[in-house]
Symmetry: C2
Subunit: 339 residues, 2 copies
DNA sequence: TTGAAAGCGCTAACAG
DNA sequence: CTGTTAGCGCTTTCAA
């Protein structure tokens, strides 16, 4: 594969100017005679010139590329990522921001120990200038690895035990409270929750927000079953909940996928949603709309959060030396049919 | 961001050898005294050296990176991609192959005209060595753009009007036949299909395979409603089918997501699957298992196809000059509960 | 405003 | 087996 295209040299010869001048025109640097600019641009056109990224990066020390890392573990990791529209929203938000700033967004999965090493290597060698990290595993070693390698990064969700780096997050506690408030307001007397893994801070916060609001309203603790963010785990949790607490009339699921699983089980049992059991989800991903019935859910402004994450990183890359910034977004209740 | 780490020079000094020797050790080239190798490796360790990718690429003319491009259009493109586990399987297969060959897989979305230009630019400047392209749009301009830019590429699905490049595909016609055969075998008398967009060759082939087998068995043409690969479009199509043909007792949906939508509508109508209406999907993505009931479906060996695609590209990158290769995989019927 | 020249950090001949 | 040397293609001082 020796497709070596035309170089600056070739364009310069074609245009009858020096390499430096062509470089200036290509990079839009001022102080070039407009007439010459045209000549150069035509030469570029004729030769079909494209700058060689490696040569450029070698001197600029930038790749104009940002890696969006989705980190986790386990078999079928990719399958899980591509089954949750939540990630689609993150990608969407980050990509939109980066494209607007002429940065190339590249998505990489870090699904295993060796994959993480490869990804870190990719960044260390400078193939990307920094990383946006979305981790869906407790105690993910990736943020620390990146940090140790001096890679600029911003996290989606604050990591309590990880390194102190900038992050963007939603107020999970407030989200849980929103769900409880809504359930209470519609007269729910026997609330339950399908919570997220409790080794995740987000999982704990959503649960304690939910419980806290209930307690505040004078209710006893809700029935709790833990799920793993998937439809099936939500369904299984709902089955357990029903087995132990047949009186349940309201469920807060810690994400929409699990809420969907719950709805399916409820339906199988001929329990009407929301009439018999009200269901509230979390995220407001596209399944919230697809679900039958459409889900009332706690919306995370994911696209904005992702864009903010990219903006924070862009700032770091431009040399802003402020300490870690932690942005916390407010969740919002979106009422549809399920509750 | 001037984090300039140690260079070969630094390591060489530390180890008391020449840059060339360090380079050899780092790149695992033979002909280096084992003792020296150790010395060098220790020096690498001490200095925390990582090769600079730009400098290396500049001379090797390779980035050791392959782009996996998902191309299409429309608002919510990312959302759609991340709502179909089918893509997860592609990513999974390609990533697994590439990681094993020490290539960095990077996923990029080409969701608009400008995004496509950016992606092509990324490849033209050499940030990746080649592309694996998954297009979910009829007449996608991307393959041709890549081809014109002399970027090595392999397509997922053969493009009839696009440039002649290597591709990997499943026998869609055979897949449609498989679905028809199964429906017929279980005694279905009024088959219908929720077909894929007919401007897609794959969509046409799945439909004609289905119709062909029916015809061959002496049946009339099935009722047809077109969907757009999403759950909602499948549900809407099912509604139309039922409205026009209440007698329908078997449905072949051109992907699992649409099959799921169909199942939901059927359930709402109190029609039992498969007892009243049998449903066959396509893909065998993870929703086939999640769906209620679990879907009988036509399996595409997506992971293998993706790996084959990566292998074909790797061959091209190594300079194998064979003409375009078209690999066609056989689909397989996976029987679960829905039919 | 333009050109000449010096590298960026690395690999790959080519000697030794 | 090891070191010396010549670039890879580009940006960026520094002079003119």
């Amino acid at each position: 594969m020796n497709r070596r295209g035309p170089t600056l040299e070739d364009v310069a010869r074609e245009a009858g100017v020096s390499r430096a001048t062509v470089s200036r025109v290509v990079n839009g640097v001022r102080n070039v005679d407009p007439a010459l600019q045209d000549v150069v641009r035509q030469a570029v056109e004729r030769t079909g010139y494209t700058p060689n990224g490696a040569a450029r990066s070698l001197v600029t020390r930038r790749a104009e590329t940002v890696a969006l890392l989705i980190s986790g573990a386990g078999d079928g990791f990719a399958a899980r990522v591509f089954a949750d529209p939540f990630f689609g929203r993150i990608v969407s938000g980050a990509v939109a921001y980066l494209r607007g700033r002429a940065m190339h967004p590249v998505l990489m999965l870090a699904e295993s120990e060796s994959a993480r090493r490869q990804v870190v290597d990719y960044l260390r060698r400078g193939s990307a200038d920094g990383a946006l990290v979305v981790s869906i595993q407790a105690d993910d070693p990736l943020p620390r690895m990146l940090c140790d390698a001096r890679i600029p990064l911003v996290l989606f969700a604050r990591s309590p035990h990880g390194p102190e780096v900038s992050s963007v997050d939603v107020d999970h506690y407030a989200g849980g409270r929103l769900a409880a408030g809504h359930l209470l307001a519609r007269g729910c007397r026997h609330p339950a929750t399908i919570c997220a893994p409790q080794d995740l801070p987000a999982g704990r916060d959503r649960l304690s927000g939910f419980c806290g609001a209930l307690e505040h309203a004078g209710r006893i603790r809700p029935a709790v079953a833990e799920g793993g963010f998937t439809v099936e785990s939500g369904a299984a949790a709902m089955v357990r909940l029903l087995a132990g607490h047949p009186e349940v009339d309201g469920v807060f699921a810690a994400n929409d996928l699990m809420a969907q699983g719950a709805c399916e089980v409820l339906r199988d049992r001929r329990l009407r949603v929301p009439h018999d059991v009200a269901v509230v989800g979390f995220d407001d991903s596209s399944v919230a709309v697809t679900c039958r019935p459409p889900l009332t859910t706690v919306r995370q402004p994911v696209e904005e959060m992702a864009a903010a994450m990219a903006e924070l990183l862009a700032g770091q890359l431009q040399g802003a030396v402020a300490g870690p910034t932690h942005l916390v977004f407010e969740p919002e209740l979106v009422v549809r049919e399920s509750a």
